[in-house]
Amino acid sequence: MTRSLDDAILHLRTNEREIGTWLLKTQGDVDVTADHDAFLLSHVDHWAVREIVLYIKRTLRRLDQTSRTTFTLIEPGSCFVGWLAEIALAADRSYMLEGTFEGSEHTEPIFQLTGMNAGPLTMDNHLTRLTTRFWGRDDAVARVESLVGEPLDAVEASDAELVTFAYDDIDWDDELRLAIEERASFSPDALTGMEANLRFPGPETMETKIFGRLTAWQNWIFTRPNASGSDGALQRYGTGRRPDFDRKRT
């Protein structure tokens, strides 16, 4: 599953660049997912389990570093539990359905934290997504970590500040449509900058510095005429002719 997600992120990033908004859903059994997390956590000293957990960590970090809008939709039949709940915490926004859809075979969706949300799956800022979400609010982190193992419905998850919006089935389609259409109307560049800024509050690490600077500084410099213009250094490289620089500093 992690390999599929990893490849999907890379594929969409590279080959589907006009698809600006990712709607993230899960499908599965809440209890089985919780058991799976518990198994991983209790065997993390085994080399293979350690590798699996570290791979999940790296794949979620890749999602954090992806310049696409990410909305998580928590619907009936989903399993946002433990490491899969991290996907909701990684997203720019999360929407959770209150109750169920008319005619659905599934009951209302559940959001459930496990020990996986409280330690091993740190972001590039070396903090958990819960600590990042509640940056500067240690009491809030302690409060949500006390909810580990509790199956939360939409109202409870919303009250616990774990999801952005909780809507009933009457409002669900309209609210989502408006949010998606609004997102598609904004400048992709402005969204990339805004999302990357908001995803990493708190302290800088080597990783956040590198990604932030390569996305902004390095690639801004690349687009400047001094580098990539017809008289710039990249075009003149190997020709024996010196680049013609615009000497003004910013």
């Binding site: 990712w22 570290l54 590198i210 410099i221």
Partner: protein, 278 residues
């Protein structure tokens, strides 16, 4: 052009992966004619295709080879370690292509550091010649850097003086935040086209040690054996084979066994459904 990130050592064009006991060797031997676009990958320069193979190798070493405790990144070309990202490729690429390439490259380097820090699979960079730009940045991802002392081999970050861009895929940041190079020396180093060699490279903390040509191979092997002793990985397998990842793509759907994606090109959305464990 559709880029496929799935590969296998049997299909590598640019890297040779060999495993002997607790040591793996990742030999870089870039196929000049194997670029993803109309550029020649001269002097072990790389493009996304080269990095895709490196990522695959790093992943396989972690999962398929629990017995591997140390990995050496080396060049199979004489007197050239790696010339960094291919300049013609950068000149041909669009802005989003460059951003994605740099991001993936750095994610792979972070993955190498994660392997060392958290999986105890250590990395050594054995620099046998010129390591310039991204070539030196790749070495910076390793725990330990050995530079051959042959009078000419050097490490360099020539992006500013040569190309009017930055060694920004971790180069400048890793110098200061990982190797603790003094910032004024880093300024000098990053503006010297030809780079720094020999004893000065050690004094400036750019590499960990130099070894003369005559003792280079033996010296690298000695260091590999020492580094292997610091790992807690099991001495025997079996590992977990990363079998081919099945994927079906149509114009609007992408299907994996445990994940499916539906594209809506009018709304510019991808609905990604991840199947939980069963």
């Amino acid at each position: 052009m559709n880029v496929d990130f799935r590969t296998h050592p049997d299909r590598y064009r640019h890297w040779h992966l060999t495993v002997t006991g607790e040591v793996a060797r990742l030999g870089m031997d870039v196929d000049e004619a194997g670029g993803l676009g109309p550029w020649e990958l001269k002097m072990n320069s790389y493009d996304l295709g080269v990095d895709i193979e490196l990522y695959d190798a790093v992943q396989r070493l972690r999962f398929e080879h629990p017995e591997v405790k140390v990995v050496v990144i080396e060049s199979l070309k004489e007197r050239i370690f790696c010339a960094g990202a291919n300049i013609k490729m950068l000149g041909c690429s669009t802005h989003p292509e460059k951003v994605n390439f740099c991001k993936f490259t750095n994610e792979t380097r972070n993955g190498i550091e994660d392997a060392s820090d958290n999986s105890q699979q250590r990395y050594l960079a054995a620099i046998n010649g010129s390591a310039a730009g991204g070539g030196y940045e790749l070495a910076l991802a390793a725990d330990h850097i050995i530079l051959v002392d042959d009078g000419t081999a050097s490490v360099a970050l020539p992006e500013v003086p040569l190309l009017a861009v930055l060694p920004g895929t971790g180069g400048l940041t890793r110098l200061l935040d990982k190797r603790f190079v003094r910032r004024d020396l880093a300024d000098v180093f990053s503006t010297v086209e030809e780079g720094i060699k020999g004893r000065k490279a050690v004094e400036w903390r750019l590499v960990d040690e130099t070894i003369p040509t005559s003792r280079f191979a033996a010296g690298v092997d000695e260091r590999l054996a020492e580094m292997a002793m610091t790992s807690d990985r099991p001495s025997e397998g079996p590992g977990i084979e990363l079998t081919p990842l099945k994927r079906e793509i149509t114009d609007t759907t992408i299907r994996y066994p445990s994940l499916e994606i539906e594209l809506d090109r009018d709304l510019a959305t991808a609905t990604i459904v991840i199947h939980g464990p069963t």
